[in-house]
């Protein structure tokens, strides 16, 4: 039992006078600190505890940051502020167990088949190379927009870590309440995260197989480091002093299976590659992404590997011709991917649903899609509360509305994953947090950031191809013109979703196979973008920069 829970239990059993005195002390402390957690009674709503049956007209009592009681017909403490939830729904705060919120340079992983380079080679590394010793806690900076977006989605707890580099670093679990970063921390480090990201072309490793070798060698080096230190510490005389290596040092707990490793892998083949490395190196593996887990639910159950399934489901191209040109395999996969959660429930594999790099605002929509594909509402709630808490080892303090747990409570007007539902009241760490509905202007703002003239360089098999594109973004649509080595014309099928940009040009060429549609798929970061171009001749990497 964590100490917090036992102290709360003791408090309840106190004689009335002492109880009142204690309450007085708390209240005075509250007055002194201003933002201290108070005493709340959330009444009249349907309470979905994620730990048993729903309670109609239930009461949740919150005191000093913790849940004091949950049930029907409970007496309301005299010192409690009442939150009237009549006709509404009360939930434990959602846990998004796989995000990069708070890392401005972090971008959703954009590895398509072909393993695109992540940063413009011309610009050198556009993002800091993360490493095993990188601690998310030291670097996370949550903006008001990040907080608003997550809270509006009913998310009160996140696991966050950058997506850049191969060893992304050590993640942190944060509550999204007010207060300092340190006061938000639930667990640190929570996991070591690894992504199969290639580096810029000509920087090792610039291929997927190179990334595999790099991960193996890094882990072997950590093994050697531990072995060398052990020998040296035992018998320093006569042995050369081993070199210090913070990366290897940071991987020590991983090799000892004390710290789990999250491998980000969406498709089956990538999951199998992660499974292979974890087996070779005897790691405590968690798979994140896992959108093709529907292909292997029983095997995953049998392997006992927990999954953080991204509800950032693959989406069809907006253009009809583009959809029709795709192979059946791709179309089928994107329609079957949302069956993954239901398949995992059936097999009994441990999993959670995560936003997986998508916007917090899209979280509920992604979960609805899983529900349309067989996931029950109860399991959807568990998959975003108690199940991620268990996978991350914080289920004694988070993940359900139960006495003694951290008071992260969400009150919604409709069921939590329903369309257009609103978060009406929100308690995080027992403090009420005001929820600002996600502003539409954000989207427009993000789109206009791409407005301007972009110099694009495509590393085609025939050499570098230079294209200048003038782009304009509005409400998620991108329009504009292009000119350069492959002709000129209008941009087609342009879209911008967060930092993900897509557009098509009609390339001219000296022969038939060089000509045709070039479909750009990239990630925008400030004045640079990187990604891949699909052409008749295969997929190529491209980089771009915006004229100042």
């Amino acid at each position: 039992m964590p100490p917090r829970i036992s102290s709360t239990a003791a408090e309840v059993e106190m004689p009335l006078m002492r109880h009142a005195f204690a309450a007085l002390l708390i209240l005075s402390a509250l007055a002194a600190r201003g933002d201290a957690p108070g005493v709340y009674a959330i009444t009249g709503g349907t309470v979905h505890t994620a730990a048993g049956a729903d309670i109609a007209n239930g009461v949740v009592i919150v005191r000093d940051g913790l849940i004091e009681a949950v049930g029907a017909g409970l007496a309301i403490p005299a010192d409690a502020a009442t939150i009237d939830a009549a006709g509404m729904h009360v939930y434990p705060g959602l846990i998004d167990a796989q995000t990069s919120l708070g890392f401005t340079s972090a971008k959703p992983a954009q590895r398509r088949r072909g393993g695109g380079a992540r940063s413009a080679a011309q610009e050198g590394p556009a993002v800091p190379e993360t490493s095993p010793s990188f601690l998310a806690i030291n670097n996370v900076k949550l903006s008001d927009d990040d907080l608003d977006a997550a809270r509006s989605a009913g998310i009160t707890t996140i696991l966050t870590v950058p997506t850049t580099g191969i060893f992304n670093g050590q993640s942190v679990i944060l509550n999204l309440g007010s207060g300092s970063a340190e006061s938000r921390v639930v667990k640190q480090p929570a996991t070591m995260q690894v992504s199969f990201n290639t580096r810029s072309t000509w920087v090792y490793p610039d291929s997927l197989m190179g990334v595999m070798a790099y991960i193996r060698q890094t882990l072997l080096d950590a093994q050697q480091y531990a072995a060398a230190r052990a020998v040296y510490d035992r018998s320093p005389a006569g042995n050369k002093r081993p070199e210090e290596n913070l990366s290897s040092q940071a991987l020590g707990p991983v090799l000892l299976r004390e710290l789990p490793v999250v491998f980000v892998a969406n498709d089956e083949l990538m999951m199998r590659r992660a499974l292979a490395i974890a087996k070779e190196m005897n790691l405590r593996l968690i798979l994140a992404g896992a959108r093709q887990a529907y292909k292997m639910p029983d095997e995953l159950k049998q392997l006992g590997v927990p999954l953080l399934v991204s509800v950032n489901w693959p989406k069809p191209p907006a253009d009809k011709d583009d959809r029709e040109e795709q192979p059946l395999r791709v179309i089928r996969d994107r329609q079957l991917a949302p069956t993954t959660p239901a398949a995992l429930v059936k097999s009994g594999a441990a999993f959670a649903l995560v936003s997986g790099g998508a916007k917090s605002a899209d979280f509920a929509g992604g979960i609805r899609k899983a529900m349309d594909n067989g996931l029950t509402a109860d399991d959807a709630l568990r998959a975003t509360t108690i199940w991620p808490a268990r996978i991350l080892g914080v289920d004694r303090q988070l993940g359900s509305l139960e006495r003694g747990k951290i008071a992260n409570v969400v009150v919604t007007d409709k069921p939590i994953f329903a369309k257009e539902r609103q978060v009406k009241r929100l308690l995080i760490d027992g403090r009420e947090v005001r929820v600002t509905p996600a502003a539409e202007k954000k989207k427009a703002g993000a789109a206009s950031a791409i407005d301007g003239t972009w110099s694009l360089s495509v590393r085609s098999a025939q050499g570098d191809v230079a294209i200048t594109a003038t782009l304009h973004g509005e409400n998620g649509t991108v329009t504009g013109t292009y000119s350069g080595d492959r002709g000129s014309g209008e941009i087609r099928n342009g879209s911008l979703d967060g930092t993900t940009i897509e557009f098509t040009i009609t390339a001219t060429g000296s022969n038939q196979s060089e000509a045709g549609d070039w479909v750009f798929h990239g990630t925008v970061s400030g004045t640079s973008m990187t990604g891949t171009v699909s052409t008749n001749l295969g997929s190529f990497q491209f980089t771009g920069s915006k004229a100042k």
Partner: protein, 475 residues
């Protein structure tokens, strides 16, 4: 150096759906209804192979490769292996066997391609270093490359999937069978020799792989430099091996030394020296071929197969004397300076001088008609039919050191078999059925049948998306 064609529409079997159908858990009832007879038959055949069912191909012209041609011959497939082969009169049909009447048709062993880049997830080149022997193609084999299926339709069943030729010492390569419909892990030939790609000439000296502006050109920039990279890598490996030997010796003496670093690149180089990894080297010119063979003599490594080797005819005796094989193009030349001296007689001249020679593809497209390239060696240099067929069957199988399993139709070998409508050396012949380890992984009739089925599924699925073209998930 060939470029992959973009996959527009896969008309092929899909491994996932196939598997779901076999176990009857397809998500959509309409799909199950749309199963054709062909699909059922194929599924049954596939499932049955696990239970050692027996298939007999009767009345065919059997090209055994190693034991001549059998008119009106039979091949008995039991499970994954060839159980019997001989004239119809001498081969009895086991009870319960599935019989394929192949009257007027030809049966030959599956074609073996020793130069492929098919089925690789991500780049086939790790460009960043002059020696990338630590990377492994086997880590990134994908079973979703439609080209593998198309190669089955051309009779190719086994391939050496190589790292690219951007560096003097490239990554470790992988021998696979195109087991379409099976997990990628089953494509890897488990007990096949380990292999590595070397490359000489223009590519590793960065003539064809130029870094973008802002990144320094990579060493080496000359053929001398390529040689130096290879020599230095082996000398480093010898130092590495000595360090480990020293460590083990000190431990045996009861000391507590600090273990040396385990370096995946150096382990690879050491395993080449130990004879545990076969070298397959990209090359064109006679001078660089001799350089590599001499370097092998000097440093103690063998070159299993020279790749491309377009000037092999100039140094065929030297190649043969080293016991080194050659895998080449029959009639591709002039596509770059180092290919100007290529001649189509290269194959025949090397064969006549005792070089173990094969024709291979380096290309998704050519890999579908290696039988035709083999046939051209009859025109250019007058090889016999049998010698021509060996170029794409038993010879490459020997180069891969898998001739105990593949490359000919013999009892006990893998049932990798191709039924052709006519003589495979004729450009008018087409593949009817291709078996890999006893399973019909390509069947023309089945393919034609399922095209409509797949088109229908695609229509239905697209229609579903047309109803909500832009699914708005956000609120």
């Amino acid at each position: 150096m060939m470029i992959k064609q973009r996959v527009i529409l896969s008309a092929a079997k899909d491994p996932y759906l196939q598997a779901r159908r076999m176990i009857g858990t397809d998500a959509s009832p309409s799909l199950r209804l749309s199963m054709t007879l062909g699909a059922v038959l194929l599924a049954v055949a596939a499932t049955a192979s696990a239970q050692e069912t027996v298939t007999v191909i009767r009345n065919a012209t059997v090209l055994t490769i190693t034991k001549g041609r059998i008119e009106h011959g039979s091949v008995v497939i039991r499970g994954a292996k060839i159980a019997a082969v001989g004239p119809d009169a001498q081969v009895s049909v086991p009870a319960g066997a599935r019989v394929i009447d192949a009257a007027g048709k030809f049966v030959m062993p599956g074609i073996v391609d020793t130069h492929s880049h098919t089925g690789v997830d991500g780049s086939v080149n790790e460009l960043s270093l002059p020696n990338t022997g630590m990377v492994r193609i086997g880590d990134v084999i994908t079973n979703e490359d439609i080209s593998a299926y198309r190669q089955l339709a051309g009779g190719t069943t086994t391939a050496l999937v190589l790292h690219g030729s951007a560096n003097a010492i490239g990554g470790q390569s992988q021998i696979v069978k195109w087991k379409w419909g099976h997990p990628a892990s089953e494509w890897l030939v488990a007990d096949a020799p380990r292999t590595i790609k070397f490359a000489l000439g223009e590519n590793p000296k960065s003539a064809n792989f130029k870094p973008p502006a802002g990144i320094d050109p990579q060493y080496p920039a000359t053929r001398m430099g390529v040689e130096e990279v290879i020599r230095k890598s082996f000398l480093d490996a010898k130092d590495y091996m000595a360090r480990w030997d020293d460590y083990e010796a000190r431990r045996k003496r009861g000391e507590t030394p600090i273990p040396p670093r385990r370096d995946l690149l150096m382990e690879t180089m050491a395993d080449i020296l130990r004879g545990k990894i076969d070298v397959h080297s990209h090359c064109y010119r006679a001078d660089e071929i001799l350089m590599l063979l001499n370097l092998g003599d000097e440093l103690g490594f063998k070159v299993r197969e020279l790749q491309h080797v377009l000037e092999g005819y100039k140094v065929a005796k030297e190649i043969a004397a080293h016991g080194t094989g050659s895998g080449t193009f029959i009639d591709w030349w002039g596509f770059k300076a180092e290919a100007y001296d290529a001649i189509p007689y290269n194959v025949a001249l090397m064969v006549r001088n005792g070089v173990l020679t094969s024709v291979n593809s380096d290309d998704d497209d050519l890999a579908r008609r290696l039988n035709q390239d083999a046939a051209k060696a009859m025109k250019y240099g007058g090889l016999s039919e049998d010698e021509a067929l060996m170029l794409c069957t038993i010879n490459p199988a020997k180069q891969l050191r898998l001739d105990h399993r593949i490359g000919s139709i013999e009892v006990g070998k893998d049932a990798d078999l191709v039924i052709w409508t006519g003589n495979p050396l004729s450009s008018y012949s087409r593949v009817e059925t291709t078996f890999v380890e006893g399973e019909a992984v390509f069947d023309r009739q089945h393919d034609l049948q399922q095209r409509e089925e797949r088109a229908k599924e695609k229509r239905e699925r697209l229609a579903k998306e047309a109803k909500d073209p832009k699914e708005k998930d956000s609120e």
